[in-house]
Amino acid sequence: MSAESASGIQRSQVDLLDFVDWSGVECLNYSSSHSLANALKQGYREDEGLNLESDADEQLLIYIPFIQVVKLHSIVIKGPEDEGPKTVKLFANREHMGFSNVNDFPPSDTADLSLDNIKGKPVLLKYVKFQNVRSLTIFVEDNQSGSDITKIQKIVLYGTTVETTDMKGLKKIEEH
């Protein structure tokens, strides 16, 4: 990981929330009353009381596709001190992973979240590995205290977009 100061986000990096393809967002093993929207969506994620919580055990598998190709620079994962996530593995461009095959591929990056990170300090990622990201899979392996439930209050992805054609923006040229 880069040793760059991580107190702030590099100016060119934007919040990739606008580029998330919400129709394809999936989360495995979440508790139904505490869904992924609580951690991702604008407004919900700022609310301290609304968390994404795990259900049967402490692991979570989050799949986020994007509407266009992005480069991922850093990530903020915020949660409570004891039940917040600790080991987080990130996979770029892997579709439909399950808990059983999550250990079959090497992750694009692994984030070991310290208490600072849990409070909101961004984690810088191996930028070279995330140059051409169509979808991101976040695998939360365990939490800070080893409890049965992992709680995530906020997930923010920082990066830039790659110049791709937005098909919706294509318009037929008007004949005069």
């Binding site: 093993n29 139904s32 259900d55 049967a56 055990d57 579709e95 808990f99 059983s100």
Partner: protein, 405 residues
């Protein structure tokens, strides 16, 4: 119309040879599987269904999830019954088969038929259930066949471990006259949480029920409503008549004990006679009788009268429910309530009239669906004669002789 991939786990162990579900448990299961496959594929054309067997030589996937109904039905042919059911392995193989489904957008569901005793312990089943929940696989359990102690408990525990937001269900089907598939049709396993396969399910229900046993008279009200109605009305009248007969017999004994018991009757249908013939208190209750409390009250009354009219009281409930449908009868009921307050003399006259065999049989003949030669009708007449006996001994003799022919 949920987009779903379903794996059906069939129990083809030795326990399926049993015939307590007609014709054999295994055959009943096969029918149910066919119905489920049809319902799933109909509710959404993109749904896929797969089948695997849990017993025999081992867990074997007969067909991987496919939307081709013919393939599924074909694979059900020639299945052998034998071996022991391996529930844990079966569910896990089903989960694996679903994981490798072609359309990843489909929701995963496993339907498992548990007919033989479950030899696994609760902990293992709960662990399997949690794993299914973690991978968002829904599980439907059809509990039938062997009623092992602990089996129900284990199966319920498995469901509790899997269940996420009521997407998983369990049905217990005891052995009985109705087919396994018929019992399943009304369950959420078929109806898919309230929507989806309901159209197919309704059609299947009508077909299945219209064919055998489903409807009382073998006539589907959808096909022939008038005939069904006529049959139902005559059935109710017949039942009422039988109740009347039994009641009269009980009444007779009660009457003798109590002495002067007020008897009122109308000239209308015999049904109202029987209702009004009860003791005044019971009679008032019979008018309101639509719930069990009154029936119990009647029973208590009857028991205090100290005879077997308790059974008559319960029948009274059924009967008045039948009469509730008919407004004429309701009117007659009211009349009879008023009648009960009249003095004995008028009652006697009425009884005289009824004691007249020919008059009564002429009334009965005019009623639809009544055969005066029917033994139950004869019993009724006989009991009527008996109750008029203390007052009208002479008139009784002649009709009685006729009865005994």
């Amino acid at each position: 119309m949920v987009l779903e991939a379903t794996m059906i786990c069939i129990d083809n162990s030795e326990w399926m040879r049993n015939g307590d579900y007609a014709p054999t448990r295994f055959q009943a299961q096969a029918d149910a599987v066919n119905l489920i496959c049809g319902a799933k594929t109909q509710s959404n054309p993109e749904n896929t269904v797969g089948v695997l067997t849990m017993a025999g030589k081992g867990v074997r996937v007969l067909v991987t999830p496919t939307s081709d109904l013919g393939k599924i039905l074909a694979c059900m042919h020639g299945l052998e019954v034998g071996g022991e059911c391996n529930l844990a392995a079966g569910i896990q193989v089903a989960q694996l088969a679903l994981k490798h489904r072609q359309n990843k957008k489909q929701q995963q569901r496993i339907i498992v038929f548990v007919g033989s005793p479950v030899k696994y312990d609760k902990k293992l089943l709960e662990m399997i259930g949690r794993k299914l929940k973690k991978n968002s696989v829904a599980l439907d359990i059809v509990n039938f066949g062997e009623e092992d102690e602990g089996k129900t408990e284990k199966v319920e525990a498995l469901l509790a471990a899997v269940n996420n937001n009521d997407s998983s269900h369990i049905v217990h089907i005891p052995s009985g006259p109705s087919a396994l598939s018929d019992a399943l049709i009304s369950t959420p396993i078929f109806t898919g949480d309230g929507e989806g396969g309901s159209g197919f399910a309704a059609a299947a229900a009508a077909a299945a029920a219209g064919g055998v046993s489903g409807f009382d008279f073998g006539v589907d009200p959808n096909l022939d409503p008038e005939l069904a109605l006529a049959l139902r009305v005559s059935m109710e009248e017949e039942r009422a008549r039988q109740e009347a007969a039994a009641k009269k017999a009980a009444e007779e004994a009660a009457k003798q004990e109590k002495g002067a018991e007020q008897q009122s009757s109308t000239q209308d249908a015999t049904m109202t006679e029987t209702v009004s013939a009860a003791a005044p208190e019971a009679e008032n209750k019979s008018n309101d009788m639509t719930d069990d409390e009154n029936a119990l009250l009647q029973q208590a009354l009857a028991m205090s009268m100290g005879d077997s009219s308790a059974s008559a009281a319960t029948r009274d409930t059924d009967m008045s429910e039948a009469t509730a449908d008919d407004q004429d009868l309701a009117l007659a009921l009211q009349l009879s309530v008023q009648d009960s307050t009249k003095d004995q003399a008028s009652q006697t006259d009425m009884s005289k009239l009824l004691a007249d065999q020919s008059f009564v049989s002429s009334i009965l003949a005019s009623l639809p669906g009544v055969d005066p030669n029917d033994p139950s009708v004869k019993d009724l007449l006989a009991s009527m004669q008996n109750q008029a006996e203390p007052q009208q001994k002479d008139e009784d003799k002649a009709p009685k002789e006729e009865e005994k022919k």
